[in-house]
């Protein structure tokens, strides 16, 4: 009886809310989670960016992930007019989805909105931490951008600032933005699906699919099953064990998993222990049994400015680890002090198992180790300054993805002694970082590469584990070549029909 009432009250609104049978012109994509908003200035957030960027909204420039080169987008030309100012020439004939033309005024508005407003834009914190910019329109198609300090990579930074019309609310996040991209938002039925439709007034080449429909499922095996079951064309964020079978496509991402050591606290303040930890981790074992990836020795992936091909992953050498620990113990290092691994659930597939592997290795090396798995928010307390007081030495399970393609977005934050995510640094390392950040061109690449090598040889603050491999499933009627940026920016225009 009660049930009848419940049903009567609720009506029947769910059934048939998102009919399948979208037709072959619609690309069906299944994501691990629903985007919280599609706010363009949060585009550096994975969940938001992979839908928004280059699909709904576009930036002035865009980085080609395979080469690392900066390409034209809404700007066709940029020149550095002085150490602190740049001039951008904007593309003509571009219109927003609402029909208004894209002008320098809109670009200036977008930059101001993203970098200097009350919205707490993610882009602002991620890309513009240490730089202040002011943009002024010179005329309709010319934009001048000034920085407070010399900034050799401003155009790269601007590849994260999505262009929105001046009618966009400057004081609050927008859920459904208007952009210049090849697709515009057709319908967002919250919790159920998000449908994009091809924008007929797009300035560039029209994409192949007339529409795209995003749905989201939290469970990897369900996402994989949707592709094998022909309920979706594209599934992302899969793990090897999710069972996508021959529909699975692997690709190198820019994510690198690592353990951050609390090098200020005994016994981790002894470099022998830090080295021992690196030798004790079976990286090959991890990528065989736990997650997909390639063992790595540095925090940035190939293709990022500053990547040092000579920094190799640490070899698995339990004997040497044991010896180092024994040596340190003989010198009075308190090796029996308990080290806590601070893990984060679901940071990557089988996160807890990965830490069990690490723990097993360290125990065998003669250290005392405990695991504590936390949820994101609690984990962030450990990741970010100020760190929790009164805790023992920790190893923090972390993962870093340098989306922007320049080591500057890695170094200062993670290795600088004052970096927001840095547990330890040395003055020498700080100096190297500062130097590299001001360099440009080839010198920049070399300076950062040297910094990574120095960190790896002399500081050993981290135990870098692996450059993670992404797995996506593609149905047989879709052709797409994922690249290292796919997880953050999945271009629908790059998806093609096989027939």
């Amino acid at each position: 009886m009660s049930v009848g009432v419940l049903l009567a009250v609720s009506g029947c609104s769910v059934a048939g809310a998102d009919p399948i049978g979208e037709g072959p012109d619609t690309l069906r994509v299944v994501l691990p989670e629903e985007p919280p908003t599609l706010e363009p200035c949060d585009a550096s957030l994975t969940a938001t960016g992979r839908v928004t960027r280059a699909n709904i909204t576009e930036a002035l420039t865009e980085r080609e992930p395979s080469t690392g080169r900066l390409e034209q987008a809404l700007a066709t030309k940029w020149t550095r007019t002085s150490p602190t100012s740049w001039t951008f020439t904007l593309r003509e004939g571009v219109t927003f989805h609402d029909g208004t033309p894209f002008t320098a005024e809109a670009a200036a508005f977008s930059i101001k909105r993203a970098t200097d407003s009350d919205i707490d834009c993610n882009v602002d914190g991620y890309i513009f931490t240490d730089s202040e910019v002011t943009a002024t329109p010179v005329n309709d198609t010319t934009l001048e951008v000034k920085t407070a300090k010399p900034d050799p990579i401003l155009p790269l930074r601007l590849s994260f600032v999505e262009m929105v019309p001046t009618t966009t609310n400057p004081g609050a996040r927008v859920r459904e933005p208007v952009g210049t991209g090849p697709y515009r938002i057709d319908e967002w039925s919250q919790g159920r699906f998000l449908r994009l439709k091809r924008y007929p007034g797009y300035w560039g080449k029209a994409p192949e699919y007339a529409a795209a429909k995003y749905v989201w499922r939290a469970e990897g095996s369900v996402r994989a099953a949707m592709v094998t079951n022909d309920e979706a064309d594209v599934a992302i964020g899969l793990a090897p064990e999710d069972g996508a079978g021959d529909r699975a496509v692997e690709f190198a991402t820019n994510e690198v998993s690592f353990l951050r050591m609390d090098a200020g606290k005994a016994p981790l303040d002894d470099i022998r222990i830090r080295r021992a930890i690196n030798y004790a981790i079976d990286r090959e074992g991890l990528v065989t049994a736990v997650f997909a990836g390639r063992p790595s020795g540095q925090l940035v992936a190939k293709g990022v400015t500053g990547h040092n091909p000579r920094v190799r992953p640490w070899p698995y050498d339990p004997e040497r680890a044991k010896k180092l620990v024994a040596e340190a113990r003989a010198d009075g290092v308190p090796t029996n002090r308990t080290i806590t691994i601070i893990g984060r659930n679901a940071i990557y597939p089988k996160a807890a198992e990965a830490m069990e592997v690490v723990q097993d290795g360290l125990l065998k090396a003669g250290l005392k180790v405990e695991i504590k798995m936390l949820d994101v928010n609690a984990w962030l307390e450990y990741l970010l300054r100020p760190f929790p007081k009164g805790i023992g030495p920790t190893l923090l399970q972390a993962q870093h993805g340098n989306q922007a393609g320049d080591a500057a977005f890695t170094m200062g934050q993670i290795y600088g002694s004052k970096g927001a995510q840095s547990s330890y640094g040395t003055p020498e390392l700080d100096a190297l970082i500062d130097q590299a950040q001001l360099a440009g061109g080839e010198a920049r690449q070399k300076a950062f590469a040297d910094t990574f090598a120095y960190q790896n040889d002399e500081v050993v603050r981290d135990a870098v584990m692996a450059n993670m491999t992404g797995i996506m499933a593609l149905s047989s009627n879709v052709r797409y070549r994922p690249d290292s940026a796919t997880n953050d920016e999945m271009r629908l225009a790059d998806m093609h029909r096989t027939d």
Binding site: S10, V14, G125, V222, M226, E231
Partner: protein
Amino acid sequence: MFTMLRRRAVSSVIPLLVVVLGVFFLARLTGDPANLYLPLSATPEMRAEFAARNGLDDPLLAQFGDYLGQVAHLDFGESLRTAQPAGEAVLRAFPATLQLAGWTMLLAILGAVVIGSLAAYRPNSATDRVASFLSSTAASVPDFWFAIMGVLVFAVTLGWLPTSGTSGAAAWVLPVVTLLIRPFGVLVQVVRGAMVSALSAPYVKVARSKGASESRVVFGHALRNAAAPALTVAGDLAVGLVNGAVVVETIFGWPGIGKLMIDSVLQRDFAVLQAAVLLTALVIFALNILVDICHALLDPRVRQQAAA
């Protein structure tokens, strides 16, 4: 009956307030949301600003006072995550869970009545033993395991059902069955127990001594007496469905309140969490009252007590 309703409604106000209070303070104990909503490199000034903007820098009691004031005007605050009114998000998610739970309970009750009665009709018979074994197994299957197995078997291997989603009747099968399995198992045992007891009651013998057919004995006489205990347990199980809904909604991509609640805890989205718990508590209280009304309808003795 109205006296009873009024009394129940009045006596629910304080517990409801306690629920709101509890969730308000517990939620804030789980940590500052600033870390999640500000960029990793946020400066202390940005954090302070964030706290001020979201009213998180006031003393807790003042925050609670403000919140109650807002709620009184049906303003549940804004979601940090999705930048939209929390009340709206909760109301949008609620019907999906309600329908899922409604169908689940309907089927669980119907199935349990049929199987429980069959089992009780001949206690300790083979039917009874099989039903008891199956129902206690059903009551102890981990639901997320069952859900994923369901997807693998019925969607991937056999291709009979869609893996997930909310479109079409076929998509309802796996979520409903997953959600149903535990309450069904428990209910079969309850109905069986109550029916055994009712079927051995003297009034059943009297009915038989009047020449009543077996169906009349079972459905006309025993079932209504057995319904009362089953009803209360069904009420409690319906309340517990919110737990199962978390799993079902997570796996099948069902846009309901269970996942919304867990997500809002994970995301420290206090406004949504509070609104969701408040609404669920309201519905649970309403459900309890509904169960009581059903009791009164079923049993004249309860009716009389209620009137007194």
